[in-house]
């Protein structure tokens, strides 16, 4: 039981990081960015390729695994940030004043395009994180596993949890403590008014996309580490789950996305533990349904006036 809670917490914190990207974009543009999962996939590829290159060059052996992971992470964040920025400029900004269905279709189109682009460029077989090297084993191997009572904690669990918690705390502080964060909150309340008081709305929207994409890149690398591979279609299911998490927590709400992601991970893991793996995908959606029946706007969703 406790073991499944830990597994759920780790998986859930990855969902939470992805869900933040959905919820931030929705908060500002009222747009579901369906290409978010693909940005995650691009980030995962970037991290695996960079880390594999470092392994091949012997840098992981000489410099250590963690600095190389940091390099891979930064590379992934850079690449994904660039993708997120371009995505908004190419696919969403020209449609900003179009009927709300148009950017949605554009998002789905970009998702299909990115998936097939990576499939053609990188092949349809998965690329593996080079997890079989000795130096990787020295850090993430079973010798470093910690047994806490009945719970087995692996170094990878700790790495993922710590990184995700740091990012969540950092994002929360950024949105609530900095000037740019304040501008983001203002833009999400009312774009026109924010523009009138001198906020550069375009810039705020670009920043939102870049931050969301950078978080997705981190999630992508963590997923690649966790599942040991990156594949062109990995973004789809991860994106669906994170979108569900964002709705569960109340879309548009940062704390809601974090809470929703972790709840979703826990529901899946505990469900598998007690009811078996056969209906794994069902547990998450049953929780979503139950929550939406009681709280239609999600757990922390705010009641806002209908825009008709």
């Amino acid at each position: 039981m406790l073991q499944s809670l830990l597994t759920g917490l780790v998986q859930g914190s990855i969902y939470a990081i992805i869900a933040l990207g959905y919820t931030m974009v929705y908060g500002i543009l009222v747009l579901i960015n369906f290409a978010h999962g693909e940005v995650l996939m691009v980030g995962a590829y970037a991290s695996v390729l960079v880390y594999a290159a470092l392994t091949f060059a012997g840098t992981t052996a000489s410099l250590g695994v963690l600095p190389c992971l940091a390099v891979a992470l930064l590379a992934a964040m850079g690449v994904a940030g660039l993708y997120g920025f371009s995505l908004e400029r190419i696919a969403y900004r020209p449609l900003r004043h179009a009927p709300s269905l148009s950017p949605l279709i554009s998002a789905i189109g970009m998702s299909i395009f990115l998936q097939n682009y990576v499939r053609l460029a990188q092949g349809s077989a998965p690329v593996y994180f080079p997890a079989h090297t000795a130096e990787y084993g020295a850090v993430f191997g079973e010798t470093n596993n910690i047994q806490v009572g009945p719970v087995l904690v692996t170094p990878l669990d700790l790495f993922i949890l710590v990184l995700c918690l740091l990012l969540m705390a950092g994002l929360y502080a950024f949105v609530h403590r900095t000037r740019l964060g304040k501008a983001m909150r203002a833009t999400s309340m009312d774009k026109t008014m924010a523009g009138l008081v001198g906020i550069s709305v375009d810039r705020v929207i670009s920043v939102t996309f870049v931050i969301g994409s950078v978080l997705a890149a981190v999630a992508g690398m963590l997923l690649a580490l966790y599942t040991t591979q990156a594949k062109f279609d990995m973004g789809f299911m991860a994106g669906m789950k994170a979108f569900t998490a964002a709705v569960l927590g109340g879309i548009g709400n940062l704390r809601g996305a974090m809470l929703g992601g972790i709840l979703l991970g826990l529901a899946e893991s505990v469900g598998i533990q007690f009811l078996g793996a056969d209906y794994k995908e069902v547990y998450a959606f049953v929780v979503l349904l139950l929550v939406l029946v009681v709280r239609p706007r999600g757990i922390l969703g705010e009641r806002v006036a209908e825009k008709v």
Partner: protein
């Protein structure tokens, strides 16, 4: 900017359209045009996580067809391959099958995965097209007793039984977990294994997860708590690889046992997993013991400059048998070819092959158990 978006969207749409482009041709009939080439279909996972299987299927068949064409083709006509990709997804299988029916093929080498072969062969059967699968081991493939469906490999009841007896009698295991990937192949094989374990070894976990699953920790932590002696996985190497890496990270010492879906993938499985693959047990025939094996491998290497996977030789043999059937029937006509294949005995690198009334290879109960040592499959039983 708007034009860019439109261009991007239409490009994305273009991918979808290209995938469902239909071949213009006659609707069905195994006959093929009276003149022109004899068309043979090849269908399997050409791309996707099992692309190695698709490569074996494609290149094995191609090697056979090129040899026939070098000798002047069959019935005085050249042989042409029509290759289609089902990505190992059963939902694509019938679409691919319809394309091959429309293309007017006389027979199909494929599909690879049982979950694809079963629905696709229904279409081929309706259209009077011969199906020879080199790799689908699910019992149902031939248990339908269609006169035009054959398989060149073994059956899952055979390999499930071999695995179960090895677990109980050689490993003398007391507690076992059985997982599968919920596909026709994986679940069918795991069910056969579990059925044969019943009453002799305690099966403490019996579960299935999606074939797309890549995070196995929830199942593996359960497995670790269950303290099993060995765990069985009915599925394919693309899942077995991440599963074994994650199992080693969790410190699971019990070995995994699996079937033909995990055997023989050096670069795509053993090399990816590294040391964690050692100790893994698989069931697969000893193809290397066949007299024609070395010659086949030499030819394959010379032609493709690559190492053949486990099912390349089966694909080669399947294409060869299909063309021998066409030759014996004297016409590129499905039902006649099927009858000729039932009647004949064919010399292949796998030895002489004849089929029983179900379409299974006669007297082919030959699964062996292998264990991975130092990154190589080593023959281990049955003793």
């Amino acid at each position: 900017m708007r034009h860019l978006a439109i261009a991007a969207a239409s490009l994305a749409l273009g991918f979808g359209l290209a995938a469902c482009k239909a071949e213009p041709g006659k609707g069905g009939g195994g006959g093929g045009a009276a003149a022109g080439p004899v068309k043979i279909g090849v269908a399997g996972p050409i791309t996707g996580g099992q692309a190695k299987n698709g490569q074996d299927l494609k290149e094995g068949s191609l090697l056979a067809v090129e040899e026939w064409n070098a000798k002047g083709g069959v019935l005085g006509r050249t042989v042409e391959l029509v290759i289609r990709d089902d990505e190992a997804l059963d939902k694509n299988a019938t679409t691919v099958a319809q394309e091959l029916v429309n293309a007017g093929v006389v027979g199909v080498v494929g599909h690879f995965n049982s979950g694809c072969t079963i629905p696709a062969s229904e279409k081929y059967h309706e259209a009077g097209i011969v199906t020879i699968t080199p790799a689908s081991t699910n019992t149902y493939v031939t248990d339908r007793k269609y006169a035009d469906v054959f398989r060149v490999c073994g059956r899952d009841d055979q390999q499930g039984r071999t695995a179960a007896y090895y677990v109980s009698d050689v490993l003398r295991a007391k507690r076992v977990a059985v997982f599968d990937d919920k596909t026709s192949y994986g679940k069918g094989l795991a069910d056969e294994c579990a059925k044969n374990l019943e009453g002799r070894v305690e099966v403490v976990i019996r579960e299935g997860f999606d074939a797309t699953e890549r995070n196995f920790r929830p199942y593996l932590t359960k497995l670790k708590d269950a303290n099993v002696d060995v765990w069985y996985f009915g599925g394919i190497y693309e899942q077995a690889a991440p599963m074994l890496i994650q199992a080693s990270q969790l410190g699971i010492k019990a070995p995994m046992m699996s079937g033909d879906g995990v055997h023989g993938y050096q670069a795509d499985f053993i090399d990816k997993v590294g040391a964690a693959a050692n100790g893994t047990l698989t069931t697969f025939p000893d193809t290397t013991a066949n007299p024609g094996y070395a010659e086949f491998v030499a030819k394959y290497r010379a032609r493709f400059d690559a190492e053949p996977g486990p099912y390349a030789i089966y694909s080669y043999a399947s294409a060869h048998i299909l063309l021998e059937g066409v030759k014996a029937a004297g016409a590129a006509d499905g039902p006649k070819v099927a009858a000729a294949i039932h009647a004949g005995t064919f010399q292949t690198p796998l030895g002489p092959i004849a089929f029983d009334d179900r379409g299974d290879v006669k007297a082919l109960d030959y699964y062996k158990v292998w264990v991975i040592r130092d990154g190589k499959h080593v023959l281990s039983g049955p003793k």
